[in-house]
Symmetry: C2
Subunit: 231 residues, 2 copies
């Protein structure tokens, strides 16, 4: 029986933009596991199976419910240990945490300041008020103000990608010659941006963009087929 | 026969401050290999064994000469594959490159702006002119000007350590429950700073400082015993 996954959707049910859900979907594909996704909106907290923390992804695998993308990756690695590893051992698992922490404190923090208004434009009508209010509280100003100078901030954002850029210009994936969970974590952030924004954050010749292309090609173009902007 | 390593020294022969040499010394200790270091100064390029790129570390292992810290780590991993792994497999090796690229573009780039004048104060008399000239060309201004506002820049530097901080507050080492080469790469940068500067870059309660303490304890206190400032 396929695993069921609750996946954040926009106004269009097929537009899936959560970076954390993309991590989980890529991890499921890495393990070769079939998944049926259920579109879910921010304000549908009561529709999630128990236990949950009011957020997605949540997966249901037989009688097991697992929530939180990191817990899902750990669960899949242990439950499906006979399938390709997401971490490549204990050191790989530890180092993946560093990449994840970089993704959350640098990459996602930078991206949200560029595309947060575009997210609001794409969320379901019933989510719009919740989304604007919660994000404007976080930023302390209207979303329109947050993104107003995004063109001017783009060079600094691109410079902040130097650790990633140097890595993927010398090897195909963040994890070396083959992708692993660390790649999915970083990719989830870029897929989030391109799912809801036509503001291209990467220059055409950027090695990061070439890597993103390799990620879009994985698993029969799983992420490339999903509704998104740009390539 | 012990491996010989050419190791950057200051005015005092025992003050060893190259971050790249610390990577190599910690990697040698990880592999349980004896090493005899030869103090070397920036202006002693003709004293290095061939081949070299005019920089240290350079190691001599029997009839093999290997230069460049990354090449040395790769050499040790292959030549001494029966000893504890520096990378923990292919994914670990790939992810270590990400940590290394972060260390070089964020951590070392931040640190040098705080301590470069202190380096100049500690280099050997014959290296002082070379060091000042080459670094002032790089910065485009006198070293005194580079460090003048370092107190004001300290909060931003500490904030830039967030990916590292989040990692080592949740696990003992960058690589997980045990240290590996990625830890030595990051640690080399902090050991470089404390070897030549009494400017404490980490707050007392910072999880990064607690991790640095764990690194200083490794291998019988190898790095703690070396001439340095602070703890």
């Amino acid at each position: 029986m396929a695993i069921t996954m609750y996946d954040l959707a926009g106004a269009e049910a097929e537009r899936r933009f959560s970076p954390f859900c993309w991590r989980a979907k890529m991890a499921l594909a890495h393990k070769g596991l079939a998944v049926e996704t259920v579109p879910w909106r921010f304000t549908e907290k009561d529709k999630l199976p128990q236990p949950n923390a009011g957020r997605v992804p949540v997966i249901v695998d037989g009688d097991r419910v697992v929530h939180d993308s990191t817990a899902i990756a750990e669960y899949l690695e242990e439950r499906y240990s006979d399938r390709p590893s997401l971490f490549g051992g204990d050191s790989g698992r530890g180092l993946t945490r560093f990449v994840q922490n970089w993704t959350e404190t640098v990459l996602q923090a930078g991206l949200v300041g560029l595309v947060v208004l575009d997210i609001w434009r794409h969320v379901a009508p019933q989510d719009r008020e919740y989304f604007r209010k919660s994000r404007e509280e976080r930023f302390g100003r209207p979303l329109e103000d947050v993104v107003r100078d995004r063109e001017a901030r783009l060079p600094a954002f691109r410079a902040s990608l130097d650790p990633l850029r140097r890595t993927v210009e010398r090897q195909d994936f963040v994890s070396g010659s083959a992708p692993s969970y660390a790649d999915y974590v970083v990719f989830g952030a870029f897929q989030w941006a391109r799912a809801i924004s036509d503001f291209e954050v990467l220059a055409a010749e950027d090695p990061v963009r070439l890597w993103r292309g390799r990620m879009l090609d994985l698993y029969g173009g799983l992420a490339r087929r999903a509704p998104a902007y740009g390539e």
